[in-house]
């Protein structure tokens, strides 16, 4: 396996001793098939045990290892050395407070995920006893892609609106709301729309589409948000007394 020496420029920050983040250089002998995460693990194991970052599965599914690579929000287990040339810069995800080195504070988005009520809501009838709901393949296809979100938070890092105003619910949480709104088993859509089609919800999105561009799982939160704008407008009229199909 051919090796390649790469220069890594990694942002460091320890709030107990650093006034501001700074960059540390590491020279790492890499295998050609390595991802950025492998290079970081090499640093941790061989060069500098004090470097902190999150990672676990190394197979693009746990969502731990989102970072900025050369200025792009990236899943580092999925960003390969072979696709990059020259010096490689690794920084913590943008738009989040830095906790330590490459680790960011995620409290805000965790709270936002919870806020959109991401679970099946039933209004009246309980689920069928002991058997599953029938759901056609077409009905599943409506929301399946939205279930692929691994919460890596790259989309929040790319979102200019979230960067300006962190009250904005942001891409992953809104996409998650839409996922449940579109699920044929769910009856909580109007309840959820009252939350997401309000201040700080879908209307704050300026449809730059950066979230969908950086999503390592092709979830397309931007499209979900635009669809919810339409749903939100419909819901508004439906709740007006006398509107056809609306409240009596």
């Amino acid at each position: 396996m051919p090796a390649r020496q790469i220069e890594l420029e990694v942002m460091r920050y320890d709030p107990e001793k650093d006034e501001a983040p700074w960059f540390q250089q590491y020279s790492v002998p890499c295998q050609e098939d390595w991802a950025i995460l492998d290079a970081l693990n090499y640093v941790k194991d061989n060069l500098d045990t004090t470097l902190s970052y999150r990672w676990s599965c190394h197979m693009m599914v746990c969502g731990s290892c989102g970072m900025m690579v050369n200025g792009e929000p990236s899943l580092t287990c999925k960003t390969f050395i072979r696709d990059l040339s020259g010096k490689i810069r690794v920084e913590p995800l943008e738009n989040f407070p830095i906790e330590r080195d490459l680790v960011v504070v995620l409290d805000d988005v965790l709270q936002k995920l919870q806020q959109v009520q991401p679970y099946i809501i039933r209004k009246n009838d309980p689920p069928p006893e002991g058997i599953e709901y029938r759901q056609s393949r077409a009905a599943l296809a409506k929301f399946k892609q939205l279930t692929m979100c691994i919460n890596c938070m790259c989309c929040y890092s790319a979102c200019p609106q979230y960067g300006l105003d962190s009250n904005f619910m942001g891409p992953a949480a809104l996409a998650l709301a839409h996922r449940y709104n579109l699920d044929s088993r769910d009856q909580g859509k109007s309840q959820r729309l009252n939350i997401v089609a309000d201040h700080d919800g879908v209307w704050e999105c300026s449809f730059v589409g950066a979230c969908s561009e950086v999503c390592p799982k092709s979830v397309d939160p931007a499209a979900a948000i635009q669809q919810m704008k339409i749903d939100g407008a419909m819901e508004y009229w439906k709740q007006k007394p006398g509107f056809p199909g609306g409240e009596p």
């Binding site: 396996m1 676990s56 197979m59 599914v61 746990c62």
Partner: protein, 586 residues
């Protein structure tokens, strides 16, 4: 030290921990649950499970058949009362997940689809394409968010259990963000911390799977059961060890050696089945232990393929066609292309056996109870003896649910009758002792050892001495080596002295946990002088029911190597017999 009180403290927020938390919240919203995890719940390794979850679904299937497959798959080391309960509850739990929104793949008529899996006589594996564990985990996590009584402590690293009069009453944990210590006081404690695949060098397991719960229980005097049974999954990607699901073979993929020959027919799993028409319980649908052992023999015979990452066999899925691969195995295609540069649509994928799952774990019974009152364990960290000497693929995801719920119910009942600790000062003293241990690690300086160095030696010695095939000499060497590494680990300096998200310190604590678990694996492998399921001895090649139809138990002995004891297997209706993987042709 900050004190936090809860009725039930759960450590680990993967599939098992979340299922238990939800069960408690549903049973009584007034019960407080403290859900502690060293990672955010959705990072838990349940997310990496691909193929699916087993539960009888079709009219031509039966609980009896699921029972028989599981017991023979486990080479009769399963506790049969546990298996009976499991197969009966499995469908209900999988339907429950459906009601919670799990995006299961569907049949034409909109009912949940099931696929064939290794060692299973019928299609009974419920799946969500090839990301079943991921969807189960996220469904559980999202569902859990509606219960205010579940209080999460994300990124808290649990250090030690606290006990009084041999009853467990809590844990002490470190908040990663601040380095502050927290003393959790609970009437009952449930460990759901996952397996320990990271004690081996080549594993499907994520970085977090370091056996923390097993080691905590072991240090507290609870035995680890059946630790010699380590599952190698036959199809891992070389280099990284990334899992390619058994679903690849369930859908019809085949294994060939360097000559393009389907070698499994030479290892008691033939006759060869037609391409694209898999036959239950034969050839590629044999159990994982047998398939991984067949690889070992092919390697010895020189029939493997040389790749840049070492010797492999080939998993050929080309005949499935692009459409089916995209629909049923999209992640497999993505992973193969990204990590070994092979598209399964056009080329066979190099694979080799990879450490995947610990059948062994914290000794528990059918209720998830450990021998220590107030302490429960569920999921991979537990050994409730559902899986015996070899777990069947797709039983473990269901196990999380079935026993997550049952242990929760038992813990709730236990907590209702418990007053909690009497002597809080003694508990605080124990918590302080754990903190002192950690502070001591931070203060140590000098010493020529490193975390990565000791870890590497531990992994290599386990692979060498307690791999797919074992013998007396090899296991003894591994035991000695790991005992020695325990001592040498005192010479590691934690260079990072920060209180904030100190992963150097975390790595040190995880290494200590792994060494404890590794020691038990090596010792139990040495003690079991027979071949059964995933435990194969070159010097004792036959199963020996007379002497070893028993569970091993590893007990900690301070300053000495662990003591191995033995426990009877519960047999209800299936006497040990022959494992037949000829597809009924024998």
């Amino acid at each position: 030290m900050k004190r936090i009180r809860a009725d039930v403290v759960i450590v680990g927020a993967g599939g098992a921990g979340l299922r238990a938390a939800i069960a408690i919240a549903e049973s009584n919203p007034n019960l407080e649950v403290a859900l502690i995890s060293k990672v955010y719940p959705m990072r838990s390794h349940t997310c990496a499970a691909e193929g699916g979850a087993a539960g009888v679904k079709r009219p031509d299937d039966s609980l009896e058949m699921h029972f028989n497959d599981t017991v023979s798959g486990g080479d009769w080391l399963c506790d049969q009362d546990v298996v009976e309960y499991f197969v009966a509850q499995a469908p209900r739990e999988l339907v429950q997940l459906e009601h919670w929104g799990c995006p299961w793949s569907r049949d034409e008529d909109g009912s949940v689809a099931v696929r064939p899996f290794g060692g299973m006589k019928k299609e009974r594996t419920w799946y969500a394409a090839d990301k079943s564990g991921f969807h189960i985990l996220h469904t559980l996590f999202q569902t859990s968010l509606q219960y205010p009584s579940i209080k999460r402590y994300d990124e808290y690293f649990a250090l030690d259990l606290l006990q009084e009069h041999e009853k467990c009453h809590g844990v002490v944990a470190m908040e990663m963000r601040s380095g502050c210590f927290f003393h959790f006081i609970g009437k009952a404690v449930i460990l759901a911390t996952g397996g320990a695949g990271r004690i081996f060098p080549f594993t499907t397991n994520g970085a977090i799977k370091t056996g923390d719960g097993m080691a905590m229980a072991y240090r507290a005097g609870v035995p680890l059961k059946d630790m010699e049974f380590v599952q190698y999954h036959p199809t891992g990607l070389p280099g990284t060890g990334i899992l390619l699901t058994e679903g690849c073979r369930g859908e019809g993929g085949v294994l060939v050696n360097k000559d393009g020959y389907r070698y499994l027919q030479d290892y008691d799993m033939g006759p060869e089945t037609p391409l694209g028409e898999p036959v239950f319980k034969s050839m590629e649908l044999g159990p994982r232990d047998r398939l991984s052992q067949a690889f070992w023999h092919e390697q010895k015979k020189g029939n493997t393929v040389d790749t840049t990452w070492g010797e492999c066999v080939l998993l050929d899925m080309r005949h499935l066609g692009e459409q089916r691969i995209n629909e049923r195995l999209p992640l497999v295609r993505e992973l193969s292309r990204s990590y070994v540069g092979v598209d399964p649509v056009t080329d066979p994928v190099p694979v080799r056996p990879v450490v995947h799952y610990m059948m062994g774990g914290i000794d528990t019974n059918i209720n998830g109870e450990t021998p220590m009152s107030g302490l429960f364990a569920i999921g991979e960290t537990a050994c409730g003896s559902l899986n015996g000497a070899n777990r069947l693929g797709s039983n473990s995801l269901t196990e999380l649910l079935v026993f997550g719920r049952r242990a929760a119910a038992t813990a709730v009942k236990y907590a209702a009758d418990s007053d909690g600790p009497v002597d809080e000062a003694s508990m605080a003293g124990q918590a302080e002792a754990a903190v002192t241990r950690v502070r001591g690690l931070l203060q140590r300086s000098g010493g020529g050892e490193s975390i990565s160095g000791i870890r590497r030696e531990m992994m290599d010695s386990l692979q060498e001495g307690a791999g797919i095939y074992r013998d007396e000499k090899g296991t003894e060497a591994a035991c000695k080596m790991i005992a020695d590494l325990q001592l040498r680990s005192a010479g590691i300096e934690v260079h990072d002295k920060s209180n904030v998200f100190n992963t150097d310190l975390q790595g040190m604590l995880e290494l200590q946990n792994m060494l404890d678990v590794a020691e038990c694996v090596a010792e139990a492998s040495k003690a079991r002088k027979e071949s059964r399921g995933a435990h194969q001895r070159l010097d004792y090649t036959e199963r020996d029911d007379e002497n070893y139809l028993k569970h091993s138990q590893a007990f900690r002995q301070a300053g000495e190597r662990p003591r191995i004891g033995w426990l009877d297997v519960t047999i209800t209706r299936s006497q040990p017999g022959v494992r037949d993987y000829s597809g009924g042709k024998k």
